[in-house]
Symmetry: C2
Subunit: 546 residues, 2 copies
């Protein structure tokens, strides 16, 4: 068996190692366009920012090791230019010498990745406009950052935000321009407000709703003209508006590309040519929750896909179950993470969902150092089946999203979260963990024990509901929602006569817990009461996200 | 509906709050023997150690709040002395006045907890021998520790170890005496070796395999005579050898107590009297994995049981699914956590299990600050169904055990762990998370791609297998397993002629990864090879645990 692998990073490298473990006799040729196979691409922003000081740390493995340990035939600085499916050969170009040659294959694996998008804007070819894909790019930006004072980042996705943190960390005056009305597009807008606020606090100039329309050289830098009419000056620009699957090789060979732009594969990562597999950022995958095709460039899935492709080449029935989109980003200690569908994805796909918000501490409040997080859970309103989760906060955010990721994989419901038995000691969690709390709240909603309203619905019912703030007078005096009257929870039973049963009552508190208690109390006294999910904290996040 | 609740901490307090949310009109009487309902008992060691400086932090809620917010009739320093099941009344004693009176109930909830065991040893009634159950106890030990220089702790369970950390943290010369051959009995011995080593490094004098047999006053302290013949001197002793469910009230009333010593309840937390429920440390529960009755005193389960009992009192079908025994302990930054069955529990119960070990970093190795953990996974050898997991290490241990706890709850297999999609950025995990790695390794074992042997089996096959250390010569020279020959993995293919096919080969490396690669390589070249699970690291932990 002779396997040719196009691309030596995540998916390609995993496939190669797996293939060797399965077949000592196989001939495995790995063709990598760059100089480094299997480098740590997710670490590049931190190398640029100086957190990873030693560049060699990014070289996960060496060509020598791949050759000695895995007996791979590694060909760096070479590029596969075309595929002859009938002859089962590829044409390879040696990028150092320009020489071209043919290589036969029994099985071909495409793991070419995705390329940063570079729209055809005036001046975009300036050497001061960088994209970040490989170590050469990282070296260039690293060198530029060392002598720069001003940087502009275009795009507020993962790379844009990670670059922002790292350039701020280096002390650069940094502006981030994002076309959308929020950073981190996959998240629901209100869930990334705390991160945007923190980045701004740390000095980031955040320009939402703006795009670059032209770049021009200045005396010693570059200017960026925005669609808003403003012009920014910088020493360099990092363009991070997204990536596009590398499909030219595949399409030229007649392989099918899906509706989302990636190479189409079956559950074994096989293209429409049974001898050609494709994995990683170049392929279109099935969303695990919605069952719809999606294009999600993530390292974990790429690695697992590589493994599955290699398995299948050697007759194993390994199948890829789809991608949940579990992802995480941190900056200055603030962490945003998600798994499954967001609310806006549900809306786009026409999937009915209910949501709840909560703002628990990451461990017992009585133990020093508890950090608050905001959690949003999406679930089927009738069955309670989980659809997705998002969290933002500090410590412990990654843990809760990982727990939800497994729950989602298992097809669990909000009722299962009520019953989750997680590790509790006061340094690590709470006897009622945030995950249990999310389950309690969501299950209460599904069971109609706990009717909720959402902040965005308040406007529509203004004047037709009694809005009561059940926090303390001192909390109330520091700011509340327009039109709210203050009846502290602990006084509510004695002041029911102040409320009319003719009108629905919406209760709220800081995070939703006292509002829940108030809702239960009021409903049993005959009021049509509901609780504002996530309380004043969520309300404010949603106001900020507007 | 009139509910009387015996005990106002975890389970009792949860039941009371839930009952009020379900029934505004119910009369709810909470009888608590101590002075504080709902105090943070898991925080007491950290108050004694000074990490929690403010004692009031341990008072989770006040009697006043319980009365105002939940309209509970809270009676502290009162004790339920007997139950008249026919009359449906309890006799309550006011511990301040000595007065006794009767109170009727429609539903009675027993949440009396478990009492520290005090064996009838000579001198054990000394005022210098403390147990830790409530805030009064914590205050006494806190006061004693402030003027003490030497302490002896009897018992190496949760409370013993937490007390050890905290007394060492206060600068006390501390000795811990444990009857067993390991600390933390529920864990498998080799999994707690790193914690025992760290505690020793931090100054703990650890006496395993010893018990106290007598206590005697000294001029200004107390002496502890051990079964080993030694005598220890200290200013005070903390007795933490375990707890015994408080069942006297229940048994006197003819309620059934189970084989493990706790009050027997059904899945609704009902005793054999349908009007009497019991929850928390006083009840016997079903082990979720084995289905067998167990006695596991944990705060999370107690809270959920309280909720379920209240639900059922009001006609809801809430059921307790059993306890998995998910638990965690930390000391000096070292964290041990587990969920499900341990290997020794499987052995005791006759449940066939396979195990694997791994020692992954808690996040990408190229990002600064990666901490190594040791993970042990237990699973059904044929189906791969998860049976339990244990981890010890630093950061990220709690996350992996929580993920495994959910996987166990969902009835997942090791194959599901292969496919887990967890949140990855280099600060938080790896593209192949420790959970994925555990899945890969265990699945390889179940599929017989990856035959393993265990350290304890090596003795039995000594001389009849070729043991090869596939680490580098420099790693080999720093210590290896007796009888091993060194063939570094990267040289193995070229040195196969040094090995005989007449004899099985066992390969090992530092943590098992290179050993796995060697095993695959050797098997395909016709050798009967297997890998030492967990490598030299596990081997050493097992030697230390002997």
């Amino acid at each position: 068996m002779k396997i040719v692998i196009v691309g030596g990073v995540a998916g390609g490298a995993s496939a190669a190692a797996r293939a060797r473990r399965l077949a000592e006799e196989a001939e495995i040729v790995m063709v990598e366009r760059g100089s480094d196979p299997s480098f740590a691409n997710c670490g590049m922003p931190y190398y640029i920012g100086g957190t990873i000081e030693d560049r060699s740390k990014l070289l996960v493995t060496s060509v020598e090791r791949l050759e000695n340990r895995y007996r791979l035939d590694v060909r760096v600085r070479q590029s596969v230019e075309s595929i002859d499916r009938e002859a089962m050969t590829v044409t390879i170009k040696n990028l150092s010498t320009g020489e071209r040659y043919e290589e036969s294959y029994d099985k071909l694996l495409l793991a070419p990745g995705a390329a940063p998008i570079r729209p055809p804007l005036p001046g975009i070819d300036s050497p001061r406009v960088y994209t970040l894909r490989n170590l050469d790019d990282a070296d260039r930006i690293h060198a530029a950052a060392e002598k720069a004072s001003h940087a502009v980042i275009i795009g507020g996705g993962f790379i844009g935000i990670e670059m922002a943190e790292n350039l701020l960390h280096r002390g650069l005056n940094t502006t981030l321009v994002e076309l959308g009305n929020q950073i981190l597009g996959p998240w629901d807008a209100e869930m990334v407000v705390p991160l945007a606020e923190l980045l701004t606090e740390r000095g980031l100039q955040l320009r939402l709703g703006a795009a670059a329309e032209a770049f021009a050289p200045t005396r010693d830098g570059i200017s960026v003209k925005l669609t808003s009419g403003d012009t920014l000056s910088a020493d360099f620009v990092v363009l991070a508006i997204g990536v596009k699957p590398e499909t030219s090789l595949a399409t030229a060979a007649g392989l099918v590309v899906g509706e989302r732009g990636g190479i189409r594969v079956n559950c074994h990562m096989q293209t429409n040519d049974a001898n050609i597999y494709a994995v990683g950022d170049a392929v279109e995958v099935t969303d695990f929750v919605s069952g719809k095709p999606v294009q999600i460039p993530l390292a974990g899935p790429a690695n697992r896909q590589g493994r599955i492709a290699a398995d299948h080449m050697f007759g194993r029935d390994s199948q890829y179950r789809g991608t949940q989109g579990t992802s995480i980003i941190g900056a200055f200690g603030k962490i945003a993470a998600m798994t499954g569908l967001s609310e806006k994805m549900c809306q786009r796909l026409g999937i009915g969902c209910e949501k709840i918000y909560l703002h628990p501490a990451h461990h017992a409040g009585y133990y020093p150092g508890a950090e608050q997080m905001s959690l949003k859970l999406l679930f089927d309103p009738t069955s309670g089946k989980l659809l997705g989760g998002q969290a933002i906060g500090g410590l412990g955010v990654d843990k809760r999203i990982d727990v939800l990721a497994i729950a989602l994989q298992a097809g669990m419901t909000v009722f299962d979260l009520e019953e989750a038995e997680l590790a509790y000691a006061p340094q690590f969690g709470s006897a009622k963990d945030p995950i249990n709390m999310a389950g309690f709240i969501a299950a209460g909603v599904v069971r109609v024990d706990h009717p909720i309203v959402h902040s965005h619905q308040l406007d529509a019912v203004a004047g037709r509901v009694t809005l009561i703030d059940v926090r303390t007078p001192s909390e109330f005096s520091e700011g509340t929602i327009d039109g709210a009257v203050n009846i502290p929870l602990d006084e509510l039973r004695g002041r029911l006569d102040e409320l009319s049963k003719q009108q629905p009552v919406v209760a709220f508190c800081k995070v939703g817990q006292r509002g829940y208690m108030a809702t239960r109390l009021l409903r049993q006294h005959g009021f049509a009461a509901s609780n504002l999910s996530g309380g004043y904290t969520t309300w404010r996040q949603i106001q900020s996200a507007r």
